[in-house]
């Protein structure tokens, strides 16, 4: 199973762009990269998913280089409400037993 590595924490200020990079050196051919966001006392929720190149939605952008060994979640113009823990997850294929394992996540603190 691909293991992910991401920074433990990041601080930012309102209006800035936040970029969180996740390393997944052992990613398999069929694996997608998914990012989740978790607020205190809540379960994680899906924010974005990609396989290669760039994906953008109303919340974030996800950049994946050609070798797919890392990915970068970009949060544009963050606000205080973006303070949360962000998890990078390499989705398992059925061949891997569908074992969803989360790493420690990146704690993002947005300051006024």
């Amino acid at each position: 199973l691909a293991k992910t590595t991401q920074p433990i924490s990041m601080d930012s200020y309102e209006g800035q762009e936040v970029n969180i990079t996740c390393s997944h050196n052992n990613i398999a051919t069929n694996d997608y990269i998914t990012w989740y966001q978790q607020f205190p006392s809540q379960g994680p929720r899906f924010i974005i998913q990609g396989y290669k190149t760039k994906v953008t939605n109303e919340v974030a952008s996800l950049f994946i280089p050609a070798d797919r060994k890392s990915s970068t979640l970009s949060l544009p113009r963050v606000s205080l409400s973006d303070t949360a823990v962000y998890y990078c997850l390499v989705d398992p294929s059925e061949a891997a037993g569908n074992k969803l394992t989360f790493g420690g996540g990146t704690r993002v603190l947005v300051k006024p």
Partner: protein
């Protein structure tokens, strides 16, 4: 719009009690998961199930068991609760296609006294 429901938001139990945490999903997903979350330790996988009556140990199964008698319901059982099992417990449901997302319940904060 509720997709994954955990039976209790807060629970207080005594040491040695048998504790049941229930989770129900309405998305017809094959895969369900139980995690615990403690400060500074992220989400740790306790058990998961990929089909009815099937279960697999996660990373920290000791002291826990699970039951999956119906596709929509996945129960976590603490046979004899201990104070070190005080934690936030999260249930998740996942379709299995690598392009889908996992859905989480709201969590159960269990305190064992």
């Amino acid at each position: 719009d509720v997709k994954v429901t955990q039976s209790s938001r807060y629970l207080v139990k005594r040491t040695g009690e048998k504790v049941f945490l229930e989770c129900v999903q309405d998305m017809d997903h094959e895969n369900m998961f139980w995690y615990r979350q403690d400060p500074g330790l992220g989400l740790r996988l306790i058990y998961f199930s990929y089909d009815v009556k099937m279960k697999e140990k996660g990373d920290i199964p000791e002291g826990y068991s699970v039951s999956r008698e119906k596709k929509e319901r996945f129960s976590l059982i603490l046979e004899s609760a201990s104070t070190n099992q005080t934690s936030m417990y999260l249930c998740a449901s996942f379709g299995g296609d690598e392009r889908t997302e996992a859905f989480f319940g709201q969590g159960t904060r269990l305190t064992v006294v």
